[in-house]
Symmetry: C2
Subunit: 117 residues, 2 copies
DNA sequence: TGCTAACGTTAGTGTCAACTAACAAAAGGA
DNA sequence: TCCTTTTGTTAGTTGACACTAACGTTAGCA
């Protein structure tokens, strides 16, 4: 009834964690190995590895293996769905603003009571 | 070194919850009272009230009081910071993509295998 | 006043997720 | 083969948060 695509849900849950956003910013400008990413933080490599798994499962980063090393990089397509989600919300909210202006102009804004699905 | 504005953090944490996104969609197209919003879900009014508080604190909805009732509406400005965040991330990631294309053209990309789970 | 309706707030519970420590796996060099 | 490097995985703990039930608050009416 009110669910959205799993991709949006996964991406938002992944981005809700500040450390994962920091990781994403790190690999947005450069491709880095797991160890290099971990070195930028004060937590253990284990924690970073788990964060990278979450980001990968959410489609926000890609993984490239080279020997024992794994390089990670931000995946622009992963953010696309999120942008669409925000844009639709944005335009709906703007429509409401426009409607309110019209209603105000008509002097008819006592109490909105539209039926809820 | 890696923090972002509290507004972005609050907004993302608020949107990470599926029910709060549903509420936001509900008040994006119409202004609704707390009770009307609660009636659209199977949880108690208490839970909805707490969700509304989170959304309000995150700047994602506005509150209008009329008698004992409180009307809520999506706040487009609340999504603005989030859009900027996503856009900056997006452009950075695209820069990387462009850089990779250049590297490929220079014949210097031996084993690119960016598979996404 | 007394009563009711519409909400918010607090206390308490259960679940999920972020973290650490210890272990396992895979690749490469001596 | 042995050892090191790089990384992922599992078990277990702790803190955050979504939820319910009970109570408090404010507005309107007889």
């Amino acid at each position: 009834m009110f669910e959205d695509e799993p991709a949006v849900d996964d991406a938002l849950r992944a981005l809700a964690e500040p450390r994962r956003r920091a990781i994403l910013r790190l690999v947005a400008s450069d491709e880095l190995a797991a160890g290099e990413i971990a070195a930028a933080f004060d937590v253990t490599r284990t924690a970073i590895s788990q964060h990278l798994t979450v980001l990968k499962d959410a489609g926000l980063v890609s993984e490239r293996r080279a020997g024992t090393r794994r390089f990670y990089r931000a995946r622009p397509e992963g953010l696309a769905g999120l942008r669409e989600f925000l844009d639709s919300m944005w335009s709906d909210a703007l429509d409401v603003g426009r409607r309110l202006v019209e209603a105000e102009r008509a002097g008819d804004l006592p109490e909105a009571s539209p039926d809820v699905a």
